[in-house]
Symmetry: C2
Subunit: 338 residues, 2 copies
């Protein structure tokens, strides 16, 4: 896998192209936007190009309704952007500040500096990635502040520059991010699926909310370059995505959830086959996983998915919510189509 | 993968062929033999044919010296074989008895019945497979009892019929089992490597000595039929085997041990990618694995391998034995070339 292929066009050139004259519009004094967090049912694991954050495969997610990020922007008279996270200023040399500022500097006129006031409504201990909802909310708020009125697919591509999975966090419900083929990523964008599934429930099981030792970005790179098993992943991922999309349309919970779990386990398997081995699971993750599998063997239609971290996300339907809550008293239940 | 291809020859016909007239020799009154247990550095994971126990790839093991099985045979006047394990009679309907009796019925004249007295010198709580040393010792003892005087490669093939990894347990030291190509398995046999490595140490870390819920045989079958990642395994396994053999000859501990760990982790990864997911690790396995990785990050040249179970086997050199024993007070250290 060649994940470092150089684009024929720089990110900054591409951003200038799609924004055109809009880049130099006068901003409103302030704007704000909300974007939900999302959990991939068919995972994004592996970049084909680093500068544009282009994925090797497509992915499909479910957004987490009221769990996400609200971001307010206001123009400030200052030499640099000011970033506030959950009410506290983040110093300019921290990676969160650096990433936000880099993204803003790409899309804004040089002289324009903003105060970025970010509030995560993701349960703080849930170990959910906030970068997806964060960059999606930042993109939507900037579009509003600057009066760009960009089409959604371009907003998705801009959000992707900040964080790959942010491309999927612009919408509620099921969202599909297609891998695309263009070198500048113009077709590597997400769009919402029409299908609703009011009975679907997501259960958050938090094993650890500590920052992980190996970032997703680093983990992907290590897996692609050292895990022979990864060679099989792209084909499985695209196949799983198609199966899950079909199951969503058919309202077939078992197929959807089973494929999502198989997909997540296979992603973690590609990591275990990396060198050095990459295992995001904690001992407690394994305890909870085994509990899910035991309950399922006993007849409860309960499935799990996991991202690049130790926490579990349970998949089940509303009619089994009380069973799940009885088995996992600490579970936080989300109603994606609430 | 087609793992159920039908052989052109039955196992019984093949056994009769290689034993020839020897099958009908008169037995001695009694005989006994010892065979060591072994740990694969490059794993056997997947059968290409079930009746002959033929592997998809080659594998390479290190035998565990005085940890193994001693089996005594004596002719009895009875309607069926009598099997004793560690001093206790095993009833005829237990799987251990059934397997031993099936193996004996294949190689002996119909009327000949034996008392099989098996003693495992493997630490009982170590969770080590005793089927490898058990069938190797049974093969050697039967060869002696019957006066077959078979060549070693045929003994290896006969032992393989009882348990795949038994083909490697006929010798001490490093042993290579080549996959072979013949339908009757006549070239799927093991042979010892000449190279000795007196400084090599194996550390047994026992997480659980309970019988596993899913047998290796069943685990292999599930992995091959449901894990897309397994498609990549045969190529990696053959490559790892070659790397490990070269490293043994060169006395290159780091390369040998690193490749063995990578191989084991990749094997477990193919299982995690199966459906339903197959995870032999227990929470405590993960605790010990993380401890090994932390120690290695701190500079200790310590590696691990794991078979289809929750227990760890550590790989290190004699000069680091006290460090390993300090970090893992419960470790049982084996000197394969003692």
């Amino acid at each position: 896998m060649n994940q470092t292929s150089v684009s024929l066009i720089s990110v900054n050139d591409w951003v200038s192209q799609i924004l055109g004259e809009a880049k130099h519009k006068s901003p409103a004094a302030q704007a704000s936007a909300y974007a939900p967090s999302n959990i991939a049912l068919s995972k994004y694991w592996g970049k084909r190009e680093l500068s544009f954050n282009l994925p090797i495969t497509g992915s499909l997610s479910i957004s987490l309704a009221e769990h996400g990020t609200k971001t307010g922007l206001s123009v400030i008279d200052a030499p640099m952007h000011q970033v506030i996270l959950n009410g506290k200023e983040v110093s300019a040399n921290q990676s969160f500040s650096i990433k936000v500022s880099q993204w803003l500097d790409r899309v804004l006129p040089n002289v324009l500096k903003l105060r970025v006031d970010t509030h995560n409504t993701v349960p703080t201990a849930a170990g959910l990635a906030s970068s997806a909802s964060g960059f999606a909310a930042l993109t939507l708020a900037t579009n509003s502040l600057m009066g760009w009125q960009l089409p959604e697919r371009q907003l998705s591509a801009l959000a992707r520059l900040g964080s790959g999975s942010a491309s999927r966090s612009l919408w509620h419900g099921f969202v599909k991010w297609q891998a695309g083929e263009q070198a500048n990523g113009s077709d590597s964008v997400a769009f919402p699926l029409e299908h609703q599934w009011p009975e679907l429930r997501i259960g958050l099981l938090t094993v650890s909310s500590q920052k992980k030792a190996v970032s997703s970005r680093e983990g992907m790179a290590r897996t692609i370059t050292t895990s022979a098993l990864y060679n099989q992943w792209p084909q499985q991922a695209e196949s799983d995505l198609a199966t899950i999309e079909t199951a969503i349309i058919a309202g077939d919970f078992e197929t959807m959830a089973k494929t999502a779990e198989h997909n997540a386990m296979s992603m973690h398997a590609t990591m275990a086959g990396a060198w050095p081995p990459l295992v995001y699971w904690q001992p407690d993750s394994l305890t909870q996983m085994q509990k899910v599998w035991q309950l399922r063997e006993q007849g409860l239609p309960l499935y799990l998915t996991m991202d690049a971290g130790p926490n579990l996300k349970l998949l089940f339907e509303a009619k089994h919510q009380s069973d799940v809550e009885a088995a996992f008293p600490e579970v936080q239940v989300i109603t994606p189509f609430g």
